[in-house]
């Protein structure tokens, strides 16, 4: 089967700076493929090349079997795109703007536009420039999904959306996959990638550092924990935590009323719970793992140095 996206040795240079250093990526049709990485990693550059908004310096790109440089408008009609920096400032209504985009794609399905807008809670009658950032983002989502494209390229599609709408968006992504559409999305939100992506690529400094499943990445993720214990009990609690293999960066902040112990955990949750059960705990916060940070630490040189020095500190 022809991959929906097939990129090999893709390089993009702007003058002296290189945004992409030979990226290889193949995405099978009907999959949801997530890409994560810090700002400037090359996510947006890669997506813009797929849409022929910018042109590669070298390498080959095939989108739905065609070269975006040669295929022209016919290929882009089969793609739905939400740009990372979505800008909309027109005076016209959301309905008029969406109808305009639909006409550019050679199809105007008003009923589908209305249904999508209703689903996301978007008022189509208001001028687009008067909409909040979140509502503009909804306009961006509707225009990408409206023509039921074979491929969806979504750059940070949920930025500015409230959690309920994010959930609705994720449902739309799943439905798109079930209908055989391919989804290529970038996100900073781990739960989002986790809930919908079949595969994840990690992009750093213009290179793919890993392609993996969400489960494997998640196992490597560090969770920030913060435990509030009675005053003066912090040091003893911290000492117990340091005995756990999974705990890093244990620190104590003492105050007159109570001590706050913070640490970062890599799995090992049962042992952590056992420590908690033996102690008096006033409050507990466990943050969702920051997948992006964890992955970058996992593959980056700096992070392994940091955890090595941490181990030394514990053993000494």
């Amino acid at each position: 089967m022809t991959p929906a996206i097939d990129i090999s040795a893709l390089t993009k240079r702007y003058g002296r700076t290189t945004a992409l250093h030979g990226v290889d990526l193949a995405i099978e049709p009907g999959r949801v493929f997530g890409v994560i990485g810090p700002n400037g990693a090359g996510k947006t550059t890669t997506m813009r090349i797929l849409l022929d908004i910018i042109r590669p310096t070298s390498g080959t790109v095939r989108v739905l079997g065609e070269d975006p440089r040669e295929a022209g408008p016919a290929l882009r009609r089969r793609i739905g795109y939400v740009p990372g920096e979505l800008a909309m400032d027109t005076r016209v209504s959301g309905r008029a703007l969406l109808t305009h985009y639909a006409q550019l794609n050679g199809a105007s399905d008003r009923a589908r536009i209305s249904a999508l807008a209703e689903r996301l809670g978007l008022d189509l009658g208001r001028p687009v420039r008067s909409l909040s950032k979140g509502n503009k983002q909804k306009v961006g989502l509707v225009q990408a999904f409206a023509h039921s494209p074979d491929l969806l390229v979504l750059d940070e599609p949920t930025s500015g959306l409230d959690p309920l709408v994010q959930q609705e968006f994720l449902a739309m992504v799943r439905e798109a996959r079930d209908a055989g559409q391919t989804v290529f999305l970038s996100s900073h939100v781990i739960s989002e990638i986790e809930q919908v992506a079949d595969e994840v690529a990690v992009l750093r400094d213009g290179r793919i550092v890993d392609v993996s499943t969400v489960d494997r990445l998640r196992a490597a993720a560090l969770r920030d924990v913060r435990v509030t214990v009675p005053a003066a009990a912090g040091d003893a609690f911290a000492a117990e935590l340091r005995r756990l293999d999974s705990a890093h960066d244990v620190a104590v902040a003492a105050s007159a009323e109570h001590d706050i112990v913070s640490a970062r955990l890599r799995d090992g949750i049962p042992a952590f719970l056992a420590v908690l059960a033996r102690s008096t705990v006033h409050d507990l916060v466990v943050q969702e793992p920051d997948l992006e940070r964890a992955v970058l630490q996992f593959y980056g040189g700096d992070a392994s140095d940091a955890s090595a020095s941490q181990t030394e500190e514990v053993s000494s």
Partner: protein, 264 residues
């Protein structure tokens, strides 16, 4: 599928501005032309003109101001009308690509089923339609005021004046469009469009001063339009240069915009 979606969108987005320019032009033309009987034919005013430095008089084309066609050229086509049409053309030419790109809205349009050359051509067509509307409006106003203001301009002169004014607007707009297509920078596009208009005016004024500088007329778009007063003598072949430059600038804009990255 509806035809020319970008063209229609461009017109729908800017008809308010067009109406504003038409009202402004109506106010200016309606103010200047009715004054002709009390200025252009007035011996005292002619005495004032003759007392002015001749360089100033020729620079402003006031040496022809005692005829209705000379007065109309010196006030409307060659001065206030020229300035207003130029400003409108600069704005439209610069916003068609560069302005849209700087606002970040061009990226999403290009991500849909349109080609680069289609985008340039449809937006150029919208600019042409608006400039035709503006200059046709000026031409109509002059025609209406021709009798009451005792201008005594021939019908061919009125039409030729409108065609010359349209030509200057097209040159300005397409040079701005071209600069925007090449660079994507709005200020550069504005500078290029306004620059060609101001430069053309300045070269013409300098060329008027003496015979040694007359060669400057050959490279002045303003002179191509008004070197021989179209309101007086009708159509002149040199106006064709304006349209040739506009067509070449448009073609280069299409080619340039097809080649480059957008929004970086």
């Amino acid at each position: 599928m509806s035809a020319l979606p970008l063209f229609r969108r461009a017109l729908a987005d800017s008809w308010r501005g067009l109406v504003g320019w038409m009202l402004g032009l109506a106010a200016v033309v309606g103010m200047y032309l009715p004054l002709y009987p009390s200025i252009g034919g007035n011996p005292e005013f002619i005495a004032i003109i003759e007392s002015l430095p001749p360089e100033l008089v020729t620079a402003l084309s006031y040496d022809q101001i005692t005829t209705g066609s000379g007065y109309t050229l010196g006030t409307v086509h060659g001065l206030i009308g020229f300035v207003l049409v130029t400003i409108a053309a600069v704005g439209w030419g610069a916003s068609a690509i560069a302005g849209d790109e700087e606002r970040g809205t061009l990226e999403l349009t290009l991500a849909h089923g349109v080609s680069r050359h289609q985008l340039v051509l449809e937006r150029l067509a919208a600019i042409v339609v608006k400039l035709v509307a503006l200059t046709a409006w000026v031409t109509l106003l002059v025609a209406v005021l021709n009798g009451p203001s005792e201008l005594d301009i021939s019908t061919e002169g009125i039409l030729a004046g409108g065609v010359a004014l349209l030509g200057t607007g097209l040159v300005t707009a397409t040079i701005g469009l071209l600069a925007g297509a090449l660079t994507g920078r709005r200020m550069i596009a504005i500078g290029a469009g306004a620059g060609i208009a101001v430069l053309g005016y300045a070269l013409n004024a300098l060329g008027n001063q003496n015979a040694d500088l007359e060669w400057l007329h050959a490279i002045s778009p303003y002179h191509w339009a008004y070197g021989t007063n179209p309101l007086e003598s009708g159509f002149d072949a040199s106006v064709g240069l304006l349209y040739a430059v506009a067509i070449i600038a448009s073609a280069v804009a299409v080619l340039a915009f097809r080649r480059r990255d957008v929004g970086v």
